[in-house]
């Protein structure tokens, strides 16, 4: 919350600063404000948002890989995990954040646990779908060529599953960037913070600027992973 000053011991007097004419007239988007507060509000929020996302995605990817290996090897693990992920998605993100607070407090850990649980299952589902999607004939050919089970996994199944796995990574990343805005209800971090502040102060510019940043961040991340996908798995026919 910027713009509030405490005058030595006396009553708290809101100090609205030296706003531009646009702000004083309640214009719905003031470019001057964005220019002035890029350094102290928007940029830090953007960096925090990226941090929140990167941590959630990397931990989520690691855990999902382990789960997927187990679920792929032992099929009976798969249905309960699927049912659990259905249940998880039916829990509102706000409630999930709140239910974790008594355990982990108003901390980054709380936010990350919630974000990781959401990404985890998007990634897990795509990994399993990718691995199971390898045609039986292809596996037959691999066996015919004398590849062992481990060789088949690393040289045939994994490369063929890669496009689907990366597709899941795109979905998970974009969704996480979007859900991470809700984190601002728990900790004053990320792009959700300027949005909530803007709401409290009925200041449209801050809301719009932060929202647009969040949307662009999501789309940029999607584009980047799509490029990576095309570079790394040129054999994929999926876009």
């Amino acid at each position: 919350m910027t713009g509030f000053g405490i005058v030595g011991g006396g009553p708290v007097i809101p100090n609205f600063g030296q706003g531009s004419t646009c702000e004083k007239n309640g214009g719905w988007f003031c470019t001057e404000w964005v220019r002035e507060h890029w350094g102290d509000t928007l940029q830090p929020a953007l960096v925090q948002h990226i941090e929140l996302t990167v941590i959630a995605i990397s931990v989520g990817f690691a855990v999902a890989s382990l789960l997927a290996l187990v679920g792929f090897r032992w099929r009976f693990v798969d249905p309960p995990l699927g049912a659990f992920s259905d249940f998880l998605y039916a829990i509102p993100s706000l409630a999930l954040f709140q239910l974790l607070v008594p355990f982990t407090g108003l901390t980054v850990t709380t936010v990350e646990i919630a974000l990781i649980s959401y990404t985890l299952f998007i990634l897990y589902r795509n990994m399993i779908a990718g691995l199971r999607g390898v045609p039986a004939e292809t596996l037959e050919v691999a066996r015919g060529m004398g590849l062992t089970r481990v060789q088949t996994f690393f040289r045939v199944e994994l490369p063929l599953a890669a496009p689907v796995v990366l597709g899941g990574l795109r979905i998970a990343t974009v969704s996480t960037i979007s859900i991470a805005t809700v984190a601002a209800f728990v900790i004053p971090k990320g792009l959700g913070e300027p949005i909530l502040t803007g709401l409290q102060e009925s200041f449209g510019t801050e809301i719009l600027a932060a929202s647009l940043l969040a949307i662009f961040l999501g789309l940029a991340a999607d584009g980047l992973i799509a490029l990576f996908q095309r570079r790394v798995t040129p054999w994929s026919r999926l876009t």
Partner: protein
């Protein structure tokens, strides 16, 4: 804002007791959430189905369908609600409903598109050869065959909208979100109770649509 409160296994018991003690309140709030969610879902269906089905029928606009899906995922709900509040200058149902509509459109649009687009082209050719008009092909051949995938999209959108509708409660949208966002007065057991009600509503809706989905795919399965 969220207040730290101690969570014990007893909180779960308290949550169920909370539901029992405040049955009429919980019913009211669940009703409000359901009303908001289903209204948004209905409007989103009306807007996205015609477009998705027609594009799928014409086998056009793949990039539109995929682009809308990505854009939809990238739009944060709080951002949408906040933007609508600034634009409309008001809060409540008429701000939250349109925001949820925007969120529900992507899964509905993409699934109706891919449901119709994925129908075997030979089947469509056969129907055309039998002299069916284009709208008839869409309504009698492609729609029934694409229905399972379309309903999967409806299910996804419904769960998503119901779970997200609670965020609306934090900005004067009423419903269960009001309880979830107000731990100070309802306590942790109240929050947990409300979360359980949202999840129950979402899972129940998903279950009912899942039944319809199963019926639709069984009807279209080749008979032995």
């Amino acid at each position: 804002m969220i207040v730290g409160d101690s969570f014990t296994p007893g909180t779960f018991v308290d949550a169920f007791r909370f539901i029992a003690d405040n049955a009429s309140l919980m019913l009211d709030k669940t009703g409000e959430t359901a009303e908001l969610s289903f209204a948004a879902l209905g409007v989103a269906l009306l807007l996205s189905l015609p477009v998705g089905l027609w594009l799928g029928h014409r086998h056009r606009g793949l990039s539109v369908a995929l682009g809308v899906a990505t854009l939809g995922r990238a739009l944060p709900i709080i951002a949408l609600i906040a933007i609508f509040i600034t634009l409309f200058g008001t809060i409540g149902f008429w701000v939250n409903m349109p925001a949820l509509v925007v969120l529900a459109i992507p899964p509905l649009l993409t699934n109706s598109y891919f449901g119709v687009e994925g129908v075997d082209r030979d089947v469509v050719e056969a129907a055309r050869g039998m002299g069916l008009e284009e709208p008839q092909i869409l309504s009698r051949v492609e729609l029934p065959l694409g229905l399972p995938l379309l309903l999967a999209g409806v299910r996804l959108a419904a769960v998503f909208v119901i779970a997200t509708a609670t965020i609306a409660g934090t900005v004067g949208g009423g419903g269960l979100g009001e309880i979830i966002a107000n731990q100070a007065s309802y306590g942790l057991s109240g929050v947990l109770a409300a979360a359980l009600c949202v999840s129950a509503l979402a899972l129940l809706t998903a279950f009912v649509i899942g039944l319809a989905q199963r019926a639709a795919s069984r009807r279209m399965a080749p008979r032995a």
